[in-house]
């Protein structure tokens, strides 16, 4: 897809794939084990050159490639897997946008930059990246336009239901905006923007559009190509990278910059155990196979600082149907601890990080799933709450007391303890009762990582003193961006990937070659 080359990009890609296939199945498993960066003086010759070298082809890398090309620079994306798109392509594809986007307006929703900012700051305290949140919210309308200009399409339809994905609409409440205490802090608005799709395939649509745009703009892509180490000049600036393409080591010079956009590290169990043990005890690593932490390690190797390495996205997907939310989530002491109608990333966070990974959803017959759901195993069933309590080994009378308290107030339409919205308030009284296991090692609990390299607003990687490492950028889950634990809502991560990926590409393109 090089703009200097007239062959259609897709043909080039096919050609490369064929070439790689011919090279045999013996492609090197990435297994980057080399630690120290490569000194520029030890690189005898560059196998290839480009302006902006991008490690990774997910939403962050592709957005970097698009805006680097728009700024007139050459851009080369390397993708470790056999197809591009990264974990973004298996995500919901939601982008968190607000402040009055054309889609919000067309569907009759008022929103302001201020309300969006306030929500994001409050919902991600105390780890909120304030500068990044403010910039992101202020740029939200422009970023919406950018997505449209790059071929992302939205349907003019709002989905009122609480869903994991949206079957046929493009706008929905994707976070805890309507959940206490956030609904009192900032006026709620639906900010989840998602390409219409079925079966959770919004990410595929999003990446199809962005990859096609990158291709049209002349960005190059090489698949089955992975980064290994950065090449540094004697002044500490980054000159390029040692990579592996088709099983062979090569050195690629990056005249203007290297963008690390290689995802997080959820598929590297050793790193997860070391940095984020709370995630290690969650059931399902969620991401494409390339999420091995390679980009993060490459950056750390040259002195890049890392932030929030223990943080991640923990999904406890109870809904749909919403009816289950009329029950109560309780911890090992039989106590409620989170508004059950909160975003599933908020509920998952509270369980994983604050309840030692253990919790149960207590429902009555009318609230239970109509079927045996694959997501939540049944931990106990009994004709009385006391029976549930005994089966779960909870302190004597503790769960009974919690249910009594909840029922007493739910009957009056109140929830003084956690202020769950009225729609989800109903006494738990119709036997038999069921306890679904919400524990992170028992329930279907997809997780991925949020920790990564510390970056500036222009996605430049900084060292432990906050000083920029010249020529080095990081975006998406290779960086420590907008998403922190607790996660504020679907679309924050893709929003961060695309927006700060763009800034990485643009800033790198503007550096002197």
């Amino acid at each position: 897809m090089d703009s200097d080359n007239n062959a259609p990009a897709s043909e080039q890609r096919r050609g490369l794939l064929k070439q790689l296939a011919l090279a045999g199945a013996g492609l090197a498993a990435s297994g980057a084990t080399a630690a120290a960066p490569v000194s520029r003086s030890s690189v005898r010759h560059w196998d290839r050159e480009t302006d902006v070298l991008i490690i990774g082809s997910g939403a962050a890398g592709t957005s970097a490639a698009i805006d680097a090309r728009r700024a007139g620079a050459e851009a080369l994306m390397l993708e470790r897997e056999h197809i591009p798109g990264g974990s973004s392509s298996i995500s919901g594809g939601v982008c968190y946008l607000g402040g009055g986007t054309p889609l919000q307006k067309a569907l009759g929703f008022d929103d302001t930059v201020e309300a969006m900012t306030t929500y994001m700051l409050a919902a991600s305290a105390p780890y909120a990246s304030e500068d990044k949140i403010r910039l992101y919210c202020e740029s939200s309308l422009e970023h919406f336009d950018w997505l449209i200009a790059n071929g992302v399409e939205y349907a003019q339809k709002f989905s009122p239901e609480k869903e994991i994905s949206i079957p046929d609409g493009s706008l929905y409440y994707s976070g805890s905006e309507k959940t206490w205490p956030y609904r009192n802090l900032a006026k709620p608005a639906p900010r989840g923007h998602v390409p219409p799709s079925q079966h959770l395939t919004g990410g595929r649509e999003l990446m199809r559009a962005l990859l096609a745009s990158a291709e049209r703009l002349g960005a190059r892509l090489e698949v089955r190509a992975t980064g290994e180490r950065l090449v540094v000049e004697s002044d500490g600036s980054v000159a390029g990278a040692q990579v592996v393409v088709g099983g062979k080591t090569a050195f690629i010079r990056a005249r203007r910059g290297v963008v690390l956009a290689a995802g997080g590290f959820i598929h590297n169990p050793e790193m997860v155990k070391l940095y984020a043990p709370e995630l290690a005890r969650c059931q399902t690593p969620w991401g494409r196979a390339g999420d091995l932490g390679i980009g993060i390690r490459m950056g750390m190797g040259v002195g890049g600082a890392v932030l929030r390495m223990h943080h991640g996205f923990v999904i406890t997907p109870m809904y749909p149907p919403e009816s289950i939310l009329k029950g109560i989530a309780v911890n090992q002491r039989g106590q409620r601890f989170v508004p059950e109608d909160g975003y599933y990333g908020l509920v998952g966070h509270e369980i994983a990080y604050k309840q030692d990974g253990k919790a149960w959803m207590i429902v009555d017959q009318t609230q239970a799933y109509a079927w045996k759901d694959f997501r939540l195993p049944i931990a106990a069933q009994a004709p009385t709450i006391a029976g549930i309590e005994t089966q779960l080994g909870m302190p004597e009378g503790a769960l009974v007391q919690s249910v009594d308290y909840y029922n007493r107030h739910a009957a009056k339409g109140n929830d003084p303890l956690l202020h769950k919205a009225k729609d989800y308030l109903a006494p738990i009284k119709q036997a038999p009762f069921t306890a679904y296991d919400l524990s992170t090692d028992q329930a279907f609990t997809p997780v991925h990582t949020f920790g990564g390299l510390q970056t500036t607003l222009d996605a430049q990687v900084v060292d432990a003193w906050g000083e920029v490492i010249p020529g080095l950028y990081a975006a998406g889950r290779t960086s420590a961006g907008l998403p922190v634990a607790p996660y504020m809502g679907s679309g924050i991560s893709i929003g961060d990937c695309t927006y700060f990926g763009r800034r990485a590409g643009r800033h790198a393109a503007g550096r002197k070659a």
Copy 2:
């Protein structure tokens, strides 16, 4: 204190101090802002040379100096402040030791390496450093002997009371060994070993002994001398350091290794906010002024990996007197969440990390402090629990319910919810009632940091791939060692400092010059 020099070491130190004083008051505030490491090739000449250069003179640095000298290497300690000892010298001076130390045996306590290991592993899950814990416990008797050999003295007296320090005894239960669930997992034994001292000055006694031993052994010490950057060879190994002594930059060659033992970063508010925001909202940074993260940053600058940067020691000191523990600690929802008789570091951890920093201690008249205590402000006082609940803005009936549940069982000598020990069980019934504020920004809540450089069992700093950076060591709170959140008990940190400091000094001394 150089062994190659016949002048008595203390005289030398006085001479150096005088020299520094004459150099004027204008000593550079450390303010290390230089980011990249210094390349060896850019160092024109070394201002000084030693075998093992140690940045910091607390328990970790001094122990490194002692064992480097015992192994026959030169050792030079730099101390940023005007007197040596670091934060260790203002600590309680407790060392967590077990497995049947002579002091434990003399005072009639049975203990085993296995029980000690089991307790430490369980109490620090899920972040436990298993390898380090096992090695530390297996080496505990030898380490006790080492402390004695270096002049640390213990009194043959056991203190049965729960105390912050020990006024006149040398052995006590310094963690949560007797607290549920730990008492069921491993046979409790008192493992807090502390030099007899008054007014929390055990650390002064400990450091007095260790510094004197280092001096006798011929280790050198320079005060008002701080590390800034590491000097690296082209192969990535560490050759020495750029330091500031008496306001002047100097380069010190370390033939065998550099040991970073410069403490944590609790006095660097920018780092605390960035890496450990839960600690940023705690009232009192606790440590000597040198805890600025300089050592950690120096290590990160050469690619050293960091671990657990969000972790810290959060002290919620309610006792003495123990009587206050008969009350209950509750969160914003009026729920109990931690056994109140747990180690104050466990209670503090639960509040800071799991209850958003907010909690209260509810007591009746017989349980309240007899005086207005400086540690915990009074948040509410009322003739009824319902009155307390209202004043604290808790959900209607929630606290009343928690107190009722507690009282009902406490009257029978049980605590099914949190299994507080019988000694601390008593109904809360004698009006008036008091709520002490345990919130981390309201109560006297001393904190320091636990995050730091990842190290091997020999205290070698490793990079993001787990590979050793040759010539670089870290110990004490500059490293990610035994102490994690929740903190297991007093003496774990000093134990880690002294034991792994020794290993750093010994391993460095054994490297080829």
